[in-house]
Symmetry: none
Amino acid sequence: MSLDNIRIVLVNPIYGGNVGSTCRAMANMGLSDLALVAPMSINMDEARKMACHATHILESKTEFSSLAEAVTDCGAVMGTTARNGLYRQHAKTPREWASKAVEVAKTGKVALVFGREDNGLSNEELAICTQIIQIPTSDEFKSLNVAQAVLVCCYEIFIAYDTYEPIQEKSPEAPSEVRERMFEIWRDTLLTIGFMKEDKADHMMQGVRRILSRGTLTVDDIRILMGIAKQARWAARAGTQSHPEDRIEI
Amino acid sequence: MSLDNIRIVLVNPIYGGNVGSTCRAMANMGLSDLALVAPMSINMDEARKMACHATHILESKTEFSSLAEAVTDCGAVMGTTARNGLYRQHAKTPREWASKAVEVAKTGKVALVFGREDNGLSNEELAICTQIIQIPTSDEFKSLNVAQAVLVCCYEIFIAYDTYEPIQEKSPEAPSEVRERMFEIWRDTLLTIGFMKEDKADHMMQGVRRILSRGTLTVDDIRILMGIAKQARWAARAGTQSHPEDRIEI
């Protein structure tokens, strides 16, 4: 499993809450290898609270005294920065680097490195990195919370890794034939209930088609739409005043 | 500036830290309109601490007693969910919905709705939503921290906004209030014509909402849909057999 090959490295984290939130973000995106570089004395209660169901990552974290040590075994070392400048000109977005990270992780270790809460990564630390990541942000406030930055990077990697299968509608899109039959019944119903007259029917049906064809129309949807039209036609012909209880169950 | 038209709505937030982190995430991605629905008594010190340089968003937040009130003026109401299930089958990813959000925000308001920290959005709340967002995650731990979920959605919208190319409908998306009135009339009509009985009405209306909310619903569309429902109700009550010529022109 190549996501196991991706390590999140936090340099000098200060707040337990951020370390915990980082664990949760990692677990949400299928990562588990957390390394801390010379952490301050972090509040572990806060960390556990924010880690939520990801305390196993907190408990299995490793600690190193320098960034170089934390990434010795890593083929790609991707450092994050919010600032521009000399060492940061070749920065790319998390989306641009994500497939690279996944590719390297197929056969070796990858580190994603995040700097101090107050001051990011130093130039010396960025020099160790083989790639620089800059998350797209508003110019007004470029600095993300460290756990938020971790989440965005992990999210992009998770999508690139393609473990994700998009949610499919259970019912497939209805074939044209079925859809057209449904529109015929609607046309007839809208004439029957007096919503439109024959001379304007084509024009009105364009409007109805526009509304109903914009998204996916599944076979289930068509069944509902046909049912409504047939029932409205039936009710108009019969009149409901005389037999209000005589409703058709579907 | 259309990002100003995008409102982040938190339903019943509990933790000040999450509200503050939400403000920071919004500012990072160029958003500023925060609404809280019936917040618990949140710790404002924690909120301010986590908001960092985004306390202006915290201070200008609005509060509402229900979700419906918080989104009355919104053309698109996008609800987030981590769960699968009956009301959640047509969910798409933040990336898939981002350009839709940007498009609607060119001419009207958009709400992104996030549920309770412990329990997400209820089915009733999701029913008000025109789109359902599900963030891709590991199956092991699907539930993101609420501020993390906000960040991912805002991040995708920020990127979509950056690369947005306008196209699309002339008539702007209808506001939630108008749409809800239309659905009420449909509900009443579907009962009147005997398409459904009262005990299954909520369930059936979910199907109808799903079909009609998949694409854009413009004010013109709503006018057509209301017209159809009113006319079907009128025809069912009156019966058309007796006076086939007595059709209403629109």
